[in-house]
Structure formats: structure tokens, C-alpha cells
């Protein structure tokens, strides 16, 4: 394979080992600090823009000119969409990137997140969030954090494995910073990004997460997402309700994710030019927000109010939850840059509150405080969306420092991910990747094999004869090359079939070789993947197969042994990355 190699393994003397560990840990530390500062600056900038542009409830309340407040609700998201749409024209694939792109880079060992795309994605997300689009801030933060890690890895001139670890470090520090949750940061990096628990990765990721947490307290400290005054589980049997809530939440998560994907498809078919779509989305959102302002922006206040008994009626909970779900699908589908995490938190907490409130009044029971159900719903809707059950539970623990609340959340999450994955996929990110041709459900090795085209393994050591050659001519050519088969290729280079030496041996010298063509012979296009080649070869006996270009001209051959070698090399790299201690 042409993939960049790890530095060749040298004799393991302790000094060298220590040096390599140190480089990666220092890399992690630098990535952690840089990512934390950027994350806090990002959150602060969103708050500043929201206040300036009359998006935050606080600024709207403090502005005495009612007409200005009304105008801002409609005009600001529209103009924000316009700016976002224009920004996307400067990104190579014309769209803002997401954690899915980051996961793909790490899982397929491509590494290297481009700096320009990362920065433009961050900037565009800042515009979306600053102007009140119904999108999340954590996705962009994760992407920016990972990009910072990757850029530093290039600066440190380390290999792909270390680049992946550096990406995970940036991600961990970003999550650690914005949720005030260093343990959750470490977990998220492992659960969602790396998807393995090698000690070699754990050390720098932990360093990044903790340093990021410390840095975040010092530079532009931001208030936590929410606080909980007190929350006790009143009755032990309510754990049964938490599990049921978790199952129901999986349904909400699947509905949310399906809406996101469907809206993205619908938007592509719309006649509106891509550059204008976010502006149209902003206009629609603003007009709806005149009626239900709760759907505007990230929705921190809506999330906090969902925890409070009596803030919403049951109908309002249902209405705001549904509108928030649709508004988020609408904004993201139409091309606003932003994440799916924060809206999932809002939708989930509204759903949890609705569940607790409805069950309480239906059964006529005195349940635990509403906040317990809201938090359970929040976690159980979010975990399937981001594919990180442990992370979300630990976020609750670190944000609230409430153990009873954490265990309640754990009960809800227990089945949510499993059920949602049955009906949708491991997470929204994995599903997005599948749609782009990276299927992670078959494990990492398959994903990697799918990213390499067989064109990379081409050999030109093959025997070619004209289609009208006689059996004798073909036989002599094969023997001369000490091979066992030959390809029939016409004057213009088009492939016409394969003949085997053992078939030709029983043919008359003058017979046309074409008659002995193998009807089961395999040929593949050069842009087909190694994964497809390996599958095709499962029931095939032979030396190799013909590889053709898009028009059907022969470009070379791929030997079975090369495929096996490529696969073994890949397994070896993965083994090193996932199980090595240093």
C-alpha cells in the first residue's frame, strides 16, 4: 500500500521508548491547551454575538424597542444563513465538515485533517450559532479541536498513528472544556473517535483532557451548560420507568436522526441554489420563532427550563420538542453549519420532562422531581445520536456531581443505544459515513480496506496476447514468462478474457486461444476497493485478476498474494495502534 509508514521499529532501548512516549505526551499537552483556549473563545464569541444580535433571551429582554427585537428574530438568522452559504464556497467540498469527517479520517487511518477546512467550518459554525440557527456547538468544537491536534501533529512531524492520537487529544480537550467534564472528554475521544483503548493513546488523551480543563478555568472561563440544585430519586421502582423512558427515547433519537438525513436529501432536490439555502432556512426559522421563540439558537434556556416543574404545560413540551426537532433538521439539512449534539440535549430533556409529567399524571403518582426525568431523557436521546452512551452518562456526573442522577441516567441509557442501533445505526455519524461509502459497521478493518482502491496494488507483470492468437502462441508466451495465465488484449488495449495454461495444454496448436477463455475469470475496475477485491476473490482460484480502467482497457493485474499482503500489513498496523503500550 502507498500509505505512509510508521517509523521503522528499532531496537527497543529504554531511552528511545521514553523519548517517543514524551513526544506524544507533549503533543497531547499542547493540543489540549490549544484546543481548550479555542473552545472557550468559540463559546464566548457565540455568547457575544447572541447578545449583540438580540438572539439571546437576555439581550432581547434588555432591549426596550420591541420592533427591533422582532426584526432581529427574522433578519439575523436570514443574514447569518447568507454569510454561512457564502463561506461554504471556500471549502473544497462546498459544505462544513462534521465529527463524521473526523471519525472517517481516524478510522480509515487517513489522518490529516486539513487546516483550511477546519477553520472555515469553525468560522461558518460561529456564524450559524451566533445568528441563532437551531444547530449545536459541540460538533464544530470537536471538529476544530481535532483539526488543531492534526495540525500540531504535522508540526511535530509524527506518523499517522500519532496524528490520530493528536486528533483525539484535541477532541478530548474540547469536550472537557465545554462540558467542564475532563473524564467525559477522555471517554468521548475513545468511544467515538479512536474506538479502541490502547494505553499509548490513553496517556496523551488524558493529559490533553486534564490540561484543557485546567486551562479552561484560567482563560475565558465559561459558565457550565446547566446546573442542577438537587435531584433525588424518590422511589427505587422509578428505575423501571427510567428504563422505559430510555426505550422511548431511542425512538425519539431515531426520529431525530431520520429527520436530519431526510431533510438533507430533500434540500438537495430543491430548486434554491446551494449558496442561498441557509438564508432560506434562516428566514423560515425566524418566522417560526416569532411564534415559538424557544426553538431559536442552541436553546440553553429551553434546556434549563425543561428541568423546572411548571415551566411548560404538557402540550407546550410536545410542541416545543417537535418544533425543535424539525427546526434543527431544517437548519442543518439546508446547509447551516453546526452540530447535532446540543439540539439533541434540548429535544431529549423536553421529551424526558414530557414523559415524567404524563406518566405522573396518568398514574396519579408522586414521582421524583421533573429534573430527574428531563436529565434521563436528555441522555437517552443524545447517546444514540452521537454513539457514546458512557460519555453522556459521565457528562451528567461531572456537570451535576449528583450520583443518584447519574445512576438514573445510566438506567435510561442502558437500552437506548442498542435499540436505536437496531433501527438506525450505531450513531448519526456512522450512518452519514455509510452514505458516503465508509461502512464502519463491519469493523475498522473493513472500513480501511474500503478506502484503498485496488489501483494502488497494480502490477504490470502479466502476459498479454492478441484475442486472435492461436493456442500455441498463447502457451509459449505464458511459459516464457513462467506464468500460468494470459490476458487477451486487442490492439486498442481492450480486455477480452483470460486463458489458463492448464486449459491450453489440451488444445490443438492452431486452435484460437479465445476458445479456451475462462468464463468465470474475474476482472475489476481499478477504482474498486481492496475490500471488494477480497470479497470477489473468496471463490476464485487463480493467480490474479485483470484490472481495467473505466472504458474497459487493461491497466494491470492484482495478484492474490498482494491482496493478502496488504491485508496482513493493515492488521499489523491496527494491532500496533490499538494494543501497543508505547
Amino acid at each position: 500500500m502507498t500509505e505512509e509508514r510508521e517509523p521503522p521499529p528499532r531496537r527497543r532501548d529504554p531511552g528511545d521508548l521514553l523519548r517517543r512516549v514524551l513526544i506524544v505526551v507533549v503533543l497531547g499537552a499542547v493540543a489540549g491547551v490549544a484546543s481548550a483556549v479555542l473552545a472557550n473563545a468559540f463559546v464566548a464569541a457565540i455568547g457575544w454575538l447572541n447578545d449583540l444580535l438580540l438572539i439571546s433571551p437576555r439581550s432581547r429582554m434588555m432591549e426596550s424597542r420591541a420592533w427591533l427585537v422582532t426584526l432581529a428574530i427574522v433578519a439575523v438568522p436570514t443574514l447569518g444563513g447568507l454569510v454561512g452559504g457564502l463561506l461554504h464556497r471556500f471549502i473544497p467540498d462546498g459544505r462544513a465538515h462534521s465529527p463524521a469527517d473526523l471519525i472517517a479520517a481516524v478510522q480509515t487511518r487517513k489522518g490529516r485533517l486539513p487546516l483550511r477546512t477546519g477553520l472555515l467550518t469553525g468560522l461558518s459554525s460561529l456564524v450559524s450559532l451566533g445568528s441563532g440557527a437551531s444547530v449545536g456547538q459541540y460538533g464544530p468544537l470537536v471538529h476544530v479541536g481535532g483539526t488543531v491536534g492534526s495540525a500540531l501533529a504535522r508540526l511535530f512531524r509524527v506518523g499517522v498513528t500519532s496524528d490520530n492520537i493528536a486528533i483525539a487529544c484535541g477532541v478530548a480537550a474540547a469536550i472537557s472544556t465545554v462540558f467542564h467534564a475532563p473524564i467525559a472528554g477522555i471517554l468521548f475521544a475513545h468511544e467515538v473517535v479512536l474506538r479502541h483503548f490502547a494505553l499509548r493513546a490513553f496517556a496523551p488523551v488524558a493529559v490533553a483532557s486534564v490540561l484543557g480543563h485546567v486551562t479552561a478555568q484560567l482563560i475565558w472561563p465559561q459558565p457550565p451548560l446547566f446546573q442542577v440544585t438537587e435531584a433525588e430519586v424518590a422511589h427505587l421502582w422509578e428505575f423501571g420507568l427510567f428504563i422505559v423512558l430510555g426505550i422511548a427515547s431511542a425512538g425519539v433519537a431515531v426520529a431525530y436522526m431520520s429527520a436530519l438525513l431526510r431533510m438533507a436529501r430533500v434540500a438537495k432536490r430543491m430548486k434554491v441554489p446551494a449558496v442561498l439555502r441557509p438564508a432560506v432556512a434562516g428566514l423560515g426559522l425566524g418566522l417560526t420563532a416569532l411564534w415559538v421563540p424557544d426553538i431559536l439558537g442552541m436553546g440553553s434556556e429551553t434546556l434549563r427550563l425543561a428541568f423546572i416543574e411548571g415551566a411548560f404545560t404538557q402540550w407546550e413540551l410536545l410542541l416545543v420538542m417537535t418544533l425543535k426537532l424539525l427546526a434543527t433538521a431544517w437548519c442543518l439539512g439546508m446547509g447551516f453549519a453546526g452540530g447535532v449534539f446540543s439540539p439533541a440535549l434540548v429535544i431529549g430533556s423536553l421529551f424526558g420532562a414530557l414523559f415524567g409529567s404524563v406518566v405522573g399524571s396518568l398514574l396519579g403518582l408522586d414521582l421524583s422531581a421533573l429534573v430527574v426525568y428531563a436529565v434521563c431523557g436528555m441522555v437517552a436521546v443524545t447517546a444514540p445520536v452521537i454513539g457514546a452512551p458512557l460519555t453522556t452518562v459521565i457528562i451528567v456526573l461531572e456537570l451535576t456531581a449528583s450520583y443518584p442522577l447519574t445512576i438514573a441516567a445510566l438506567a435510561s441509557v442502558a437500552l437506548a443505544n442498542l435499540i436505536a442501533s437496531r433501527y438506525f445505526g450505531r450513531s448519526l455519524f456512522d450512518r452519514q459515513l455509510t452514505e458516503r461509502g465508509h461502512d464502519l459497521s463491519g469493523g475498522r478493518s473493513r472500513a480501511i480496506l474500503q478506502t484503498h482502491a485496488i489501483g494502488e496494488l497494480l502490477s504490470d507483470e502479466y502476459v498479454a496476447v492478441r484475442p486472435d492468437a492461436s493456442a500455441r502462441e498463447a502457451r509459449d508466451a505464458i511459459v516464457a514468462a513462467a506464468s500460468a495465465e494470459a490476458y487477451l488484449v486487442d490492439a486498442r488495449g481492450y480486455y477480452a478474457g483470460t486463458v489458463h495454461l492448464h486449459e491450453l495444454l489440451s488444445a490443438d496448436d492452431s486452435e484460437p486461444a479465445q476458445r479456451w477463455c475462462d468464463p468465470n475469470a474475474l476482472s475489476m475496475r481499478e477504482d474498486e476497493t481492496v475490500w471488494e477485491a477480497m470479497n470477489a476473490m473468496r471463490h476464485f482460484v487463480g493467480e490474479g485478476m485483470a484490472v481495467l480502467d473505466a472504458e474497459g482497457r487493461l491497466v494491470g493485474t492484482v495478484y492474490e498474494s498482494d491482496l493478502i499482503n496488504a491485508y496482513l500489513e493493515l492488521l499489523e498496523q491496527m494491532r500496533k495502534e490499538e494494543h501497543a503500550t508505547a
Partner: protein
């Protein structure tokens, strides 16, 4: 500071210097009456007269900015910071930014000695006071109220509640009682839904509310037994507690801290003497003396460090001061910036709510 802002100062200074000896016209200060004013007279007004020969006449004041429209305007008002900011934004106060303040008694420069946010263009903080909930210990023989939520729990703690006739404080407590963390109060009061919830919660105890307007009323209502719980200024309640037979107990949970400031109205006749007074009254000594008598937190760190015992009762005053660690665990810092921009509309909303009493309670 823009140079033009200094012009009135210089002009007034000239008038003051041109005038012969001060003394014939008293300095008119609007302040809060009762024990509070008595202590101010003892530790501020009288010493000031002895030092400068300027007598001080007080005007009864119960908060608000309407007093600035009086004719003649008072020379100084003892105004809550939130109202000072609102009045300042409307150019109804004189700038006192250029006022030079002496260092603390320990030599700390004034800028570092005053607590954070104490100085503003138009206002200088002298004390941190807290609005707290107190109760009549005689009324609850069993479980006693200890949380803000108990103010709204007329089942467990039946009886009349005396609350100040303002939206401020009552809205905060309504949300605290609903489980809103103290750090999120003003963000949620900014949403129509949060504001609505606060008024609905207040509506739940509407039948049990006695409204008070003057700072001494809640003490009298509790002492007479007409109310079993009351909001009020911690200093007033402390003053009543100095009586060994007092029935008043303070709930420190959810205390709302606010800065009390000296301001000079735009139409003040004796601005220079007013400046002189403010400089005199905010030195370490007078601030310490006020805190030791009124149980308010002083605005200077050097004064906080000197607070010891009440001069007559002899009790240690530190546990009675709102800013003390024992009392401030769940204290709410009043968001004065928020109030400065919203107070008019919130008041309007409050008046509507008061008037539409029956309609709102029918909504429940």
C-alpha cells in the same frame, strides 16, 4: 471620561468657592428612616456637621427614582445600585467618577480597597445589604422554615407573608422555589416562559400576601404577629433581634445581595458639599462603624477586616453580615445591569399582575 463631562463639575466648584461659608443651607439627603437613619445620623451626619459645619436634613425615601423629580431635588440619595444605573443611563444623576477617594486605613489605594463593581460613573457603593426572608419564631412550634421554597409553601407553613411591593426579589424567590439554580435566575427571567412561571408561582400565594413599602414595616408585621414570614432588609431584622425577647429569625437561604450607593441627582443644589459628604462617608472608619451597628457588609475590604463587635450589645457582628461565608452559601447576586435595562417593563408587568389578580388566580 470625556472632557465635557467635567464642565459641570468645574462650574459647580466655582459656584461653591464663590459662596461664603457653608452652613446656612442644610445638605438634603434622601434616606431610608428608622434604625438605619438613626445610625447614619450618629456615625455619618453628626460627625460630618462637626467637621464641616454643614448640617444635614433628611428626606424620607423608600426606593425608586421618582425622588429625582422632587422640587427641589435632594442633594444626595442613598439609592440601590440597580436604580442608580437606570437613572444614570437617563442622565438624571451627576457623574462622580472624578471623585478622589482616600486610601483604606491600611494604606490600600481606594481602587483596590473597594469591593468589585463598587464604583460606577454616577454612584459609589457604601454597603452590601441583603434582602432576606425572616419569620416569626412563635408561629412555628414544630418544623421551622429554612428554605426559600417554604415561603411559597402555605400548607406546611400557613400564615400571612409580608412582601415588598416590587417585582424584584419576589421573582427571584419564585424561581428559586421552583428549583432554578441561583446562577441561572436572570437568564430564565429573560424568557417569557420564565417570567410567566415566576408570576404564576407568586400567584399561588397571592391570598396570603401583605404588601409592604417602607423598610420598617416587615419588622413590625412580624413583631405584631400579623405576618408569619416577611421579606426585608437584613439590617432591619438584625436591629430587631438586638432585643433579647425578639421573635424574629432570618433565613439566609436565597438572600439577595445588592449594593447600596450614594448618588447626586442632576438637579442637586449643593453638588460640591454632596461630593464632600460622599468622600467623608465612604472612608474605612465610617464604613466599619456602619457595619458594626447595622449588620450590612461594608464596601471596603479594609472595613470588612476591622468589623468586630456591636458597640452596645457587644455581640460579634461578623456572623450577622450577609457577606460572611456562613450566610452567603446560596446568596443571589442581584443582576443590576439586567434590572437597569428591564425595570420599567418589569414594573409595568407587575402592576398588571397586581391589578389582574382575580384573572390570574383563575388561570391556576
Amino acid at each position: 471620561m470625556r472632557p465635557l463631562d467635567r464642565l459641570p463639575t468645574i462650574g459647580l466648584l466655582a459656584i461653591f468657592l464663590a459662596a461664603p461659608a457653608a452652613g446656612e443651607e442644610p445638605l438634603r439627603i434622601a434616606t431610608w428612616g428608622g434604625a438605619y437613619e438613626r445610625v447614619q445620623r450618629e456615625v455619618l451626619f453628626e460627625p460630618f456637621r462637626e467637621r464641616t459645619g454643614i448640617a444635614i436634613e433628611t428626606i424620607a425615601y423608600n426606593g425608586g427614582t421618582e425622588i429625582l423629580e422632587n422640587d427641589p431635588a435632594p442633594d444626595i440619595v442613598d439609592m440601590a445600585m440597580s436604580e442608580s444605573l437606570a437613572a444614570c443611563a437617563d442622565d438624571r444623576l451627576q457623574s462622580i467618577q472624578a471623585l478622589e477617594l482616600p486610601p483604606g486605613s491600611d494604606g490600600t489605594p481606594a481602587d483596590m480597597d473597594f469591593i468589585g463593581g463598587a464604583r460606577h460613573r454616577c454612584a459609589l457603593t457604601h454597603t452590601v445589604y441583603a434582602t432576606v426572608i425572616a419569620y416569626d419564631a412563635r408561629a412555628f412550634s414544630g418544623q421551622r422554615p429554612s428554605r426559600v421554597a417554604h415561603l411559597f409553601d402555605t400548607e406546611a407553613f400557613p400564615g400571612q407573608r409580608a412582601l415588598r411591593k416590587t417585582p424584584a426579589d419576589n421573582m427571584e424567590w419564585a424561581l428559586l422555589a421552583s428549583g432554578v439554580p441561583r446562577q441561572e435566575l436572570y437568564d430564565l427571567l429573560s424568557t417569557p416562559r420564565g417570567l410567566e412561571l415566576a408570576f404564576r408561582r407568586l400567584g399561588g400565594i397571592r391570598e396570603s400576601i401583605i404588601w409592604w413599602e417602607e423598610g420598617g414595616e416587615p419588622v413590625r408585621l412580624l413583631e405584631s404577629g400579623r405576618a408569619v414570614m416577611a421579606s426585608g432588609y437584613n439590617g432591619r431584622f438584625f436591629n430587631a433581634q438586638l432585643d433579647p425577647d425578639s421573635n424574629i429569625e432570618i433565613i439566609w437561604d436565597g438572600q439577595i445581595q445588592e449594593y447600596q450607593t450614594w448618588v447626586i441627582p442632576a438637579g442637586a443644589g449643593r453638588a460640591q458639599a454632596a461630593r464632600e459628604f460622599i468622600r467623608f462617608a465612604t472612608r474605612t472608619g465610617p464604613l466599619t462603624a456602619l457595619a458594626e451597628r447595622l449588620a450590612y457588609g461594608p464596601a471596603r475590604h479594609s472595613a470588612e477586616a476591622q468589623v468586630r463587635r456591636h458597640p452596645e450589645a457587644g455581640i460579634d457582628m461578623r456572623p450577622h453580615i450577609p457577606t460572611h461565608a456562613y450566610n452567603s452559601a446560596n446568596a443571589v447576586a442581584k443582576d443590576i445591569d439586567w434590572y437597569a435595562h428591564t425595570i420599567e417593563r418589569i414594573r409595568e408587568r407587575f402592576r398588571d399582575w397586581l391589578e389582574s389578580g382575580d384573572a390570574a388566580s383563575a388561570d391556576q
